[in-house]
């Protein structure tokens, strides 16, 4: 694996790490299985691309607007759930499928190229470091900033109320926490992060595409679970690190699968190999426990 590929893998891993942090907020903190992300990721890409290409906006502002659009999408899902009592999973599916049409409208087509406009990555060229290095560093800084912001948020009174609303809604409600409001804000935030990731991914990919969202939910969730299994921890600080590590490991598994053709694997086996590598990583993680089981067996 070349340095270029390793940094490229990190780049993609950092971007999907943002998605994983969003998934962590919904699935782990709020206990809200949110499927909106499948639509809000391409929404972020579409909004950023359209603002940059058609409206000629500054890419930084366009990227932030993409995040805001994602917040609205997540807010709508939570609204369907909280206000209209639609099952959370269904609410997410409904918003995600409607976003597919909305994204086509926003981009007035399925694909919006970003190959001939300035992106946030263009601005990094002033540092005079080759793109493939500075992009990875930049995205690394972005995700660390988001991680610390999320940690800090969850440590505030508001954030603790949100955690309470997720872990024990009845108790939280009894203590005066507005659980519905927590869901609206939390799911909104999570989708804002996802859309932000979508906007960054589109700029790194070279285009926004209506089909960019395929599999986002699986990648986000797998990253959280892989991270949590490898680094089990009670603290938010370590848990958010675990999400990022999980996202990077997932991309690393894909990279390995891409390089595994020399042992007779075909290009179409990538998904299978990725899944197997994730499984192996999870089993290896338990190998400590395995060893102790064997030791106990020997003693007897």
């Amino acid at each position: 694996m070349s340095l270029y590929e390793i940094l490229g893998t990190l780049e993609t891993g950092f971007i999907y790490g943002i998605v994983a942090l969003g998934a962590f907020l919904t699935f782990r903190i709020l206990d809200f299985p949110d499927l909106t992300v499948e639509g809000s990721f391409p929404l972020g890409a579409a909004v950023a691309a359209t603002l940059m290409v058609s409206a000629g906006w500054n890419p930084w502002i366009a990227t932030i607007c993409a995040g805001l659009a994602g917040f609205v999408a997540g807010f709508m899902t939570a609204l369907l759930n909280v206000r209209f009592r639609i099952l959370h999973i269904l609410a997410g599916i409904l918003i995600a499928i409607s976003l597919y049409s909305i994204n086509l409208r926003i981009m007035s087509g399925p694909n919006k190229p970003l190959l001939m406009v300035d992106t946030v990555f263009t601005y990094l060229e002033v540092f005079g470091i080759p793109g493939y290095i500075i992009n990875a560093i930049f995205l690394g800084v972005v995700i660390i900033l988001i991680k610390f912001a999320l940690d800090a948020f969850l440590a505030t009174g508001y954030g603790i109320s949100m955690r309470a609303a997720g872990s024990n809604p009845a108790m939280a409600e009894a203590n005066g926490v507005n659980v519905g409001k927590m869901k609206l804000v939390g799911v909104g935030f999570a989708n804002g992060l996802t859309a932000l990731a979508g906007a960054l991914f589109a700029q790194s990919f070279g285009a926004a595409d209506a089909y960019m969202g395929i599999g986002v939910i699986i990648i986000g969730l797998a990253s959280v679970i892989v991270g949590m299994s490898i680094m089990p921890s009670g603290s938010i600080f370590l848990a958010t690190i675990a999400c990022i590590v999980g996202a990077i490991l997932y991309r690393l598994a894909v990279a390995l699968a891409l390089n595994a053709d020399f042992i007779g694997l075909q290009a179409s086996d990538v998904q299978l190999v990725t899944a197997l590598l994730v499984i192996i990583a999870l089993i290896l993680q338990q190998s400590g426990n395995l060893r102790s089981i064997f030791r106990r067996g020997n003693k007897r």
Binding site: L115, F205, L258, V270
Partner: protein
Amino acid sequence: MTVLLRSAVAAIVLGVAATSAYADDMKKVAISTIVEVPALTDTKQGIIDALAARGYVDGETITIDYQNANGNMPTQQQIAKKFVGDNPDIIMPITTPTSQAMISATSDIPIVFSTVTDPIKAQLISQYEKPGGNVTGVSDAAPIEPQLDLFKEIVPGLKKIGFIYNPGLDNAVATLGWVKEFGAPRGIEVVESPAPTTNEVVLATKKLIGEVDAIYIPNDTTIVAALEAIVKVGQDVDLPIFTGETGGVERGAIASVGLDYVGIGEIAGNMAADVLEGKPVGEIDAVIAYKTLDKFKVVINKGAAERMGVMIPDSVMAQATQVIE
């Protein structure tokens, strides 16, 4: 954390092994596509065939690295990074997003794209003739001209053609422009009949009765969803119905002309061979496949023609690659 370390080491070891699998003296060709569907695997086959015909045989004179993203954009992105890191002699992306990812990843390594409908709109190139930079390739734009020629052969008095479409769809609007552009020199005038939803398709069809000599149904999902209803109207009033896609012929349209994707791959493969022989990629003209291809998929539905009161001339039957009775 030791697990992390272990997997990282494993990653690097595997990666190095993979990279060294390339023989150093052989030229390297990297091919990728977003997903494996017949049109795309045919394109890939055409590329490999054409390269072999020019003496570039995989495993003998060149090494071909083929990667498929399994429909996954981040995986596509990683493939782009892997290719650039491997530094092949040429990168051959198939489909629009694959090409965009590759072009975004490198402006040095020669890129020959294929099966991209509108490479200018996708910003892969800025012009077809000597596109410059590191990119050229083959467009699979719909073969409107051969289609109109065929329709005119089947309906010799074709002066006005009805065009039913969803004005909200990009590709339908683009196709409308092409049918107008290529119809004009053939003496064919286009009569538009928009139908923004599938429910309005029958009405949009009936509006055309008496106004046109035939109807063209573009590859527009809104309209194609109601193709059977359109075909029924056509049968009731003996109005010939043609489709922009050969799949529609099986569902009751009279005829269509489709692209041979192996042929598209062959054009791209020959461009790649030129690049391997030292020709600067930016000086190779990008092409629209149907303008250079001489063989097409011509599908005729004889039964449908009879039911719409049309006799298929023998000259047309002779061109058919597939006849549905």
